[in-house]
């Protein structure tokens, strides 16, 4: 740990001061000792197992090329492509919905405002399985949407147990998170910029397109990456809605439990982990923070 003494302090943080007085002797050693338990648990139960998983993925007859050949399996490739498409679609829809609602909530005050914000962010703590159940309540066999369409004489519309149901579930899951991010970013906008644009004769649409959206861009990229990563890796919702949905986490799960094909499950999980980690690295480099990706 002594090497970190040489590091330049980050901006906005008070610089580490030289030791003073008897209480400060041996400080680097003490800090290392304080960090050690967390580091040991992390190394033993996360880094080591992860390395093992990576090695198992490459442990078959094909070695490291197994990471590529696992995608030669049409089922796996299919599942990867549909998961990527689903996550991208969910991200775009969630960003659009949350930007409209989030901007509206920040820029207007009216009776019931606080309640509306509370309701919109309440599902933040729901695990994926509960979200899956909410989709069943909406679009399942006894769901609200089916009852309404039946009453309208259009037949019972049931789509909970398909890709469309999963799409709805992931949007449900992501909207509260993204709305919070949009609202936090929109609160920091300088209203003078907007007023300047208006006084120069810009229409509301021009103000949104040329002033507000560019200012929100970092927050939107970061929230979008988080939403994408969560949709790629989420397992609970797909598991609840299951039956015919072929997404990567479900494929990994069936390879592992039903086919007992541990090497393929390992290779696919490593691949999935790389994709989500890369997406979140983008988010972090743009915005520097991340919100809970619970599931």
């Amino acid at each position: 740990m002594s090497a970190c003494v040489q590091d330049a302090p980050l901006p906005h943080r008070p610089a580490a001061r030289p030791p003073a007085g008897p209480g400060w002797t041996g400080e680097p050693l003490r800090l290392a000792a304080l960090l050690a338990p967390a580091a040991a648990v992390f190394a033993a139960f996360f880094l080591l197992p992860l390395v093992r998983l990576i090695l198992i993925g490459a442990g078959g007859a094909e070695g490291w090329s197994a990471y590529l050949t696992t995608l030669a399996d049409p089922g796996h490739l299919d599942s990867l492509i549909s998961t990527l498409a689903l996550s991208a679609g969910v991200t775009l829809v969630t960003l659009a919905v949350s930007t409209v609602a989030g901007l509206f909530l920040v820029r207007n005050s009216f009776p019931g405002h606080a309640l509306l914000v509370a309701l919109l962010t309440f599902p933040l703590a729901f695990p994926g399985v509960v979200i899956g159940f909410m989709v069943i309540m909406l679009a399942g066999r006894q769901g609200l949407i089916g009852t309404v369409t039946q009453a309208l004489g259009a037949g019972k519309l049931v789509f909970a147990y398909s890709m469309a149901g999963l799409f709805l579930g992931y949007v449900y899951f992501s909207v509260p998170r993204v709305i919070l991010t949009v609202m936090a970013a929109a609160e920091k906008l300088d209203p003078r910029l907007e007023e300047a644009a208006r006084s120069l004769g810009a229409s509301s649409w021009r103000v949104v397109a040329d002033v507000i959206l560019p200012a929100l861009k970092p927050a939107l990229i970061s929230a979008g990456a988080l939403c994408f990563a969560t949709s790629m890796g989420a397992f609970g919702t797909a598991f609840t809605l299951a039956t015919r949905i072929n997404v990567l986490p479900m494929t990994i799960y069936t390879e592992f439990t039903l086919q007992a094909n541990i090497a393929a499950a390992a290779a696919l999980s490593v691949l999935l982990g790389l994709i989500t980690w890369a997406a979140l690295a983008v988010a972090r480099s743009v915005a520097g923070t991340s919100v809970a990706a619970a599931g």
Partner: protein, 267 residues
């Protein structure tokens, strides 16, 4: 603000309508499910009457999963407090490239899907003694997943106070390290520790991605029970069970909202 008439034009009502629609999408199924859990026969509807029968049935079948979830959540809280608070202190006291790297590494279990982490744990420790069939196996997964949230919440508060000056003051009065840590550092980070603790409890009670692979028939947690009640039982029981879950997480959610309203950093 400037002219309200401009703001309350058709654009306002259109956006309000849209926002209410999104809110309905999120809340209507919640209300439906809560009602279903209290309805005698959901297929017949509310006119069949309200009952606590399903909640009682959930308690009869699933009380074990609820108690195990609470046990794991509080054990997880104890572990993340013991590991995370000292780690956050070390990272806050020596900001630098190495601290950034360590922080980045510690956050990885959030970035990598729980399924992958669970698989990694199983292939590495699944054969070690009785660990696989013990609830401690699930606890390990939960600690990995929640530790980043504790570290982050505590770091956020530590970054907003001048620890060095506070500690120098205490040290100049002759306070040794342990005394400074207990009477200066910890009390000043109270809000961060509280925010992190609520987060850890909520996340642990709801964790499914890791837990589904790590659990065994003897170590089922609440979300595992939820998944199998959704899959196999009648909608009333799934709903009543979901209601129980809501009741368990609502107190910590309200506390968290209260904390963030006081302007303290949360995660």
């Amino acid at each position: 603000m400037h002219d309200l008439s401009h703001r309350r034009g058709w654009g306002f009502w259109l956006q309000l309508g849209f926002t209410l629609l999104v809110c309905a999408l999120l809340t209507v199924p919640m209300v439906m499910s809560m009602l279903a859990g209290l309805t005698a026969n959901y297929f017949v509807g509310l006119k069949s009457g309200l009952t606590l029968r399903w909640v009682e049935e959930v308690w009869r079948v699933y009380s074990g999963t609820i108690l195990l979830s609470l046990q794991i959540a509080f054990a997880c809280l104890a572990c993340t407090l013991a590991l995370g608070v000292p780690a956050a202190y070390a990272l806050a006291r020596r900001p630098g490239r190495i601290a950034r790297l360590v922080e980045e590494l510690l956050m990885m279990p959030v970035a990598i899907p729980g399924l992958a982490t669970a698989l990694a744990l199983i292939v590495t420790y699944g054969g070690v003694g009785d660990l696989r069939s013990s609830w401690l196996f699930i606890l390990i997964g939960h600690v990995l997943f929640t530790l980043p949230f504790m570290v982050r919440a505590v770091l956020a508060v530590m970054g907003s106070i001048d620890l060095t000056t506070l500690e120098e003051g205490a040290a100049s009065l002759g306070a040794g390290f342990l005394r400074r840590f207990a009477t200066v550092v910890l009390p000043n980070c109270r809000s961060g520790i509280l925010a992190g603790s609520l987060m850890v409890l909520t996340l642990s009670v709801g964790e499914f991605n890791l837990t589904w692979l790590l659990h065994t028939p003897l170590t089922k947690t609440l979300p595992v029970g939820l998944a199998d009640s959704y899959a196999s039982l009648r909608i009333e029981i799934g709903s009543a069970y979901t209601l129980v879950f809501f009741l368990m997480i609502v107190p910590s959610l309200i506390l968290m909202q209260g904390l963030s309203r006081r302007g303290r950093p949360s995660v």
